[in-house]
């Protein structure tokens, strides 16, 4: 799905989180929103997912206006920074949640739900943990379950807020490749937030560098590395 962001701005009671920003994301791209803390990455991601509404500007999905669409209708697979797994449900029930929440006529039969959840557990390479509770998982396992839960609703796009933020370096590397693989097999337009420039450069097709509520530069990793547009970008990617 193509995503177009047109002159989106957001202020929280007079503090500006986003100055008008514009961005076009071609269908199937893996995009990194890169920037220091407080630069507006999460705000932009939440606006895409429908968890926050812009003060001004428009969001277009495949060229049709989606600005006012509710979070449920947008069907964005969202992976939260702290994963936000339902702590009172097993991993299986977590992943099945979105399927069971569908209106009766589009809800799959329970056998079909089991089949899909099993498949997703295989996709994230954790086939045997369906009966466990989130607090019985490691951080990396939780992250993968959160990803599977987001994928279960057959999302139109994938939005991830610092998906590897809370993990150690070795696990990060593994999961990075995991995300790349899942992106390549599903072909979903994927936006992830990070403040780690190495992660953004390695993983993304398109990197969006942000600072203080503005987009400083958009480009392929190599272009950004070779031709940083502003002093901020040069400094940030060399850090």
């Amino acid at each position: 799905m193509n995503i177009d962001i047109e002159e989106i701005s957001k202020d929280f009671n007079s503090t500006f989180a986003l100055h008008p920003v514009s961005l076009s994301i071609p269908s199937g791209t893996l995009v990194a929103l890169l920037g220091p803390s407080g630069s507006g990455k999460t705000t932009l991601l939440r606006i895409l997912g429908g968890l926050e509404f812009p003060t001004a500007g428009r969001v277009l999905f495949d060229a049709s206006d989606a600005t006012g669409l509710s979070v449920q209708v947008r069907r964005a697979g969202f992976v939260f920074q702290s994963y936000a797994l339902f702590r009172h449900m097993t991993v299986f029930d977590n992943i099945a949640y979105g399927l069971r929440a569908r209106p009766r006529k589009s809800r799959p039969q329970s056998g079909e739900i089991t089949r899909r959840v099993t498949k997703l557990l295989e996709l994230i390479k954790l086939p045997d943990i369906g009966a466990r509770y989130p607090n019985q998982l490691s951080g990396g396992q939780r992250q993968r379950v959160a990803l599977a839960r987001a994928l279960a609703i057959e999302p139109r796009m994938l939005l991830l807020d610092e998906p590897f933020g809370a993990l150690d370096a070795k696990v990060r590397k593994e999961l990075r490749q995991g995300l790349r693989d899942i992106h390549d097999t599903t072909g979903l337009t994927t936006v992830f937030v990070t403040h780690d420039q190495e992660e953004a450069m390695q993983l993304a097709d398109l990197v969006v560098v942000m600072s203080m509520g503005r987009i400083e530069q958009v480009g392929k990793p190599d272009d950004i590395r070779a031709r940083p547009k502003t002093p901020f970008v040069r400094e940030f990617i060399s850090a």
Partner: protein, 297 residues
């Protein structure tokens, strides 16, 4: 304890005690604390409880039970159960609504409302009762009108309900607010992104996450609803057989030197508290695995 590295036997001995965890106290302190705790419990809790039942059963079971089957006593028990049955569910709903609004949304005047929730705790129950008398009593136009239309509030059951609602309002909200603040909004947001409606999110995510705090709040609310004395004493007018709840009945019996009746009624009230506590323990034991799973790691 820091011991300098030394090859002597004493240092080796001293450092051979790593099995004691940092939070373990020496035995003397441990037993002193336990003993202290027990003496306090004995003086403040067990002794009075035993005294109640001892006094109630002084003339035997039959006599005690007979005092309960008296019409006034029966009416008091029925009224107290009725008041609890109406006010506890209502305050559970109000408490959830208040805690939900306070913790999951940002709005103007929130800090002010949080303070307001505590109001029933901070003013004397007698004053609370007087408040309702002043508002709905026969000295106001509203009160006169209500009586004329056959719906008296003061010196009638509706007044008792209002006063009890007011007094027990904070219990559920107070239990829920810290739990819901700690849990944040992320799980609810996740449910919404997965396509769940607001109501479904509330039922399948919010409620299960707060159920233990809710149960606890409801039990406290129930205990107070059945035990409230001051506010109810003022609004009820203490009409025997009509507006007399169990605590009021106990006082009446006691003032009339019917000490067996008074203590038997007190025993019943204490037993009701026991039932709720036992219920809670049973539930906690039954769902121990879920409790462990829903707690933070």
């Amino acid at each position: 304890m820091i011991s300098l590295p030394s090859p002597t036997g004493r240092a080796a001995q001293a450092s051979r005690r790593p099995f004691r965890s940092a939070t373990t106290e020496p035995l003397v302190i441990k037993w002193t604390l336990i003993g202290l705790c027990f003496s306090v419990l004995t003086v403040l809790l067990f002794a009075p409880l035993i005294a109640i039942f001892d006094e109630a059963l002084r003339r035997g079971w039959a006599f005690a039970l007979a005092s309960l089957s008296e019409p006034d006593a029966q009416s008091a028990i029925r009224l107290t159960l009725l008041v609890a049955a109406i006010t506890v569910p209502l305050n559970a709903i109000f408490g959830i609504a208040a805690a939900w609004a306070i913790t999951k949304f940002d709005w103007r005047g929130k800090a002010w409302v949080i303070t307001l929730i505590d109001l029933p705790f901070s003013i004397s129950p007698v004053v609370a009762g007087l408040l309702f008398v002043l508002m709905f009593g026969s000295n106001t136009a509203l009160g006169v009108w209500l009586v004329a239309n056959g719906f008296p509030i003061v010196f009638a059951v509706p007044g008792i309900l209002l006063a009890t609602l007011f007094i027990t309002f904070p219990f559920v909200a107070r239990e829920l607010i810290p739990v819901m603040l700690e849990q944040g909004r992320a799980e609810e947001e996740a449910a919404l992104t997965l396509g769940a409606s607001g109501w479904r999110t509330f039922v399948t995510v919010t409620l299960p996450n707060i159920r233990w705090a809710l149960l606890y709040g409801v039990l406290l609310c129930n205990a107070r609803a059945m035990g409230e004395f001051g506010a109810v004493a003022v609004v009820s007018g203490k009409i025997r057989g009509q507006t007399t709840t169990m605590p009021l009945m106990i006082e009446m019996f006691y003032n009339e030197y019917l000490s067996v009746a008074a203590f038997t009624m007190a025993g019943v009230l204490a037993l009701l508290a026991f039932v709720t506590l036992t219920l809670k323990s049973v539930l906690e034991w039954r769902y121990a695995d879920q409790l462990a799973a829903t707690h933070r790691h």
